[in-house]
């Protein structure tokens, strides 16, 4: 079973005070972590790729914990999340799908059992490719104020034999959210949707 070989880690923390409207008393925090790893299946077609999912679990946990730390260390502060992957050109989009289970599992674990599906996106791309990682509320996917996206990427990755896996977390709604819909304080938070 292939190990996870990490070449680099890029973190980013956004602190948003306003976007032209009234400055928030508490700025919105948005954290992302992107890890560039070797793609053990690059360069050829491999039928059975699932063993690598198990290897990715510790990486997912490490990344999820670092996001919570970046947001102040209290998992209860986290209200939104998302995940994504950029597969280098020697691999296939399907390799990015290996990140679904370990990335999602890790964030739910660290956040103490979040209910909503973790929104995700993936693509194949070369160094410098940017990925807009979708964000939704951790307990109720329909919370409109928390729909967002965070851009991740790094100038020198993923190389062709690599993939870059991302997790993101936020502390709340868009800074001037006022587009209506289900509000965070109106959810039941049991089915992951409403």
């Amino acid at each position: 079973m292939p190990d996870v070989s990490i070449r680099k880690i890029v973190t980013a923390l956004d602190e948003i005070h306003h976007e032209g409207g009234p400055p928030a008393a508490q700025p919105l925090l948005r954290a992302s972590i992107l890890t560039v790893i070797a793609n053990p299946y690059a360069g050829r077609y491999v039928e059975d790729i699932q063993p690598f999912m198990e290897n990715l679990r510790p990486l997912g946990l490490m990344m999820a914990k670092r996001l919570v730390d970046m947001l102040g260390g209290d998992a209860k502060r986290v209200e939104g999340y998302g995940k994504g992957a950029i597969v280098g050109t020697g691999g296939e989009n399907e390799h990015g799908a290996l990140w679904h289970a370990p990335g999602g599992y890790a964030m739910r674990e660290v956040l103490g059992g979040a209910k909503a599906i973790v929104p995700s996106t993936k693509k194949v791309g070369g160094p410098g490719t940017r990925l807009d990682v979708p964000v939704t509320h951790i307990n109720a996917s329909y919370v409109r104020s928390h729909f967002d996206a965070i851009e991740v990427g790094t100038p020198d990755g993923p190389r062709s034999n690599e993939m870059a896996v991302a997790l993101v977390m936020t502390t709340g709604a868009r800074i001037h959210n006022r587009a209506g819909g289900l509000a965070a304080d109106a959810i039941t938070g049991e089915d992951g949707l409403k």
């Binding site: 973190t11 980013a12 923390l13 602190e15 032209g20």
Partner: protein, 194 residues
């Protein structure tokens, strides 16, 4: 604070491997960026002292953010750099007013010492544009292993009436330096050059 900050972002990039070689400890670069309102957008102003004051504020704020993101003592910082990108309703001289007269002293306080010139770059630009922040050793500009750069990019800034200001701090040089020249451990650090 004179600066009207819309958002702050702090990136950290850690390199654990390069060309199959383990980098131990990993090399690490931090960049902190502030997106501020340009008080002189849309009109010619001869006296740029307000931007100079903003530069002094941001040199300290962004320098401390980098050091905090690296989790190091200030004197463990090894290289630094600064850059600004002015949105389309401003002028290049606005970047110069922020970067050159007063930003350096509080940045040097944040990294303790800093005998060397802070390398810089500037340009006009719009949202999503890349700004390359040059890096040089903070006490001895000729230390060859620490000549480097780091990219900054925000998908939503600078808007026309904004300026993106970035400060970068590292606790290390390039991952596998082997092109000779003055070394970090040979630097005197008294004249800022060697």
């Amino acid at each position: 604070m004179t600066a009207k900050i819309r958002k702050l972002t702090v990136w950290v990039e850690e390199t654990l491997q390069e060309m199959g070689q383990e980098i131990s400890p990993p090399t690490r670069k931090a960049v902190a960026a502030a997106v501020i309102e340009n008080p002189f957008a849309g009109h010619y102003e001869n006296d740029l002292s307000e931007l100079m004051e903003i530069g002094a504020e941001l040199g300290g704020l962004l320098g401390r953010k980098c050091v905090a993101a690296l989790g190091i003592e200030p004197n463990a910082a090894e290289s630094y750099g600064k850059a600004a990108m002015v949105g389309e309703n401003g002028e290049l001289e606005h970047a110069a007013a922020i970067l050159h007269p007063r930003l350096g002293a509080p940045l040097r306080e944040a990294v303790e010492k800093g005998a060397a010139l802070v390398p810089s770059s500037k340009k006009m630009g719009g949202p999503g544009q890349v700004l390359d922040v040059p890096l040089g050793h903070k006490d001895a500009a000729y230390v060859r292993s620490h000549f480097d750069g780091v990219e900054v990019r925000l998908c939503d800034a600078p808007r026309a009436d904004e300026i993106l200001v970035a400060v970068a701090v590292t606790d290390s040089g390039r991952p596998l330096p082997r092109v000779g020249g003055l070394r970090h451990d040979e630097a005197q650090g008294s004249d800022g050059l060697r």
